[in-house]
Symmetry: C2
Subunit: 149 residues, 2 copies
């Protein structure tokens, strides 16, 4: 069932002059299996690749537009599959206590408002908008219950 995805990934890598090696395929599968962005350490653990290969290939995949780098509040880079490969436009709930990043979606109407705003800003500032980021910061259920023990 995920063959379409792999074909799409292979195409993007090809466009970028890169091969779709087994390690890269492993990374893609690791990320497909996750429901939230993973840290590099989590990717290394779950993929069983060496650290250098994980970092190097995440970088290659990012360059080809397959993987997207997410930054939260802590010092760890996080990675997820590009939204246009998963057809799942979403945003993030970022916990300021533990740093965990969770996905969530918003009503289309709001997305459209944001998009409209984007083009407006683009025109007025000479800025070419490619994407937007709408995240919420706060405290996740786990950290809240841990605090009020």
């Amino acid at each position: 069932m995920g063959e379409d995805l792999h074909r799409a990934v292979a195409d993007r890598l090809d466009l970028d002059g890169q091969r779709y090696t087994s390690g890269r395929r492993t990374l893609v599968e690791t990320l497909v299996g996750a429901t939230r962005p993973l840290t590099a350490a989590e990717v290394v653990t779950e993929s069983d690749l060496s650290q250098s290969s994980a970092y190097r290939n995440l970088s290659v995949l990012e360059g080809a537009g397959v993987v997207h780098r997410v930054s939260g509040t802590d010092e760890f880079a996080r990675f997820e599959l590009a939204e246009d490969l998963t057809d799942h436009h979403h945003h993030h709930l970022i916990c300021e206590s533990c740093g965990v990043v969770r996905d969530f979606t918003v009503p289309d109407a709001l997305e459209e408002s944001v998009d409209a705003l984007a083009s407006q800003v683009a025109r007025s500032a000479g800025f070419e908008v490619r994407d937007h980021r709408l995240d919420l910061f706060g405290h996740c259920a786990d950290c809240r219950s841990a605090t009020q023990v």
Copy 2:
């Protein structure tokens, strides 16, 4: 004119059990003077504090809710004054080529939609929302003209 600000900063530091030293005052003044988030390196240069004091005090100020840490696409942390001290709620245009971060504002109606969404998500996910982040990614005017030479 900026005395109100300094009083507010002093109050927050006091609440956090911290003093408002001259170095911290210098940092606050450096950030007030900027119209965009500054990297640590920029703060060091413009404040003339030692690197360690700059980092250490930015951290103290962040802990007291005076300074806010902003993350863009590059590896440099950026710092700005907390919005509730400047009464200037804003968002960021982040250039994916050079990493520069610029401030911009959006219509109140959109802000309100986002706030409404925030409370909705809070209820359904057990997540306690404290703030939101709405940023646009793309390419700034400078990088666009540099590319198409």
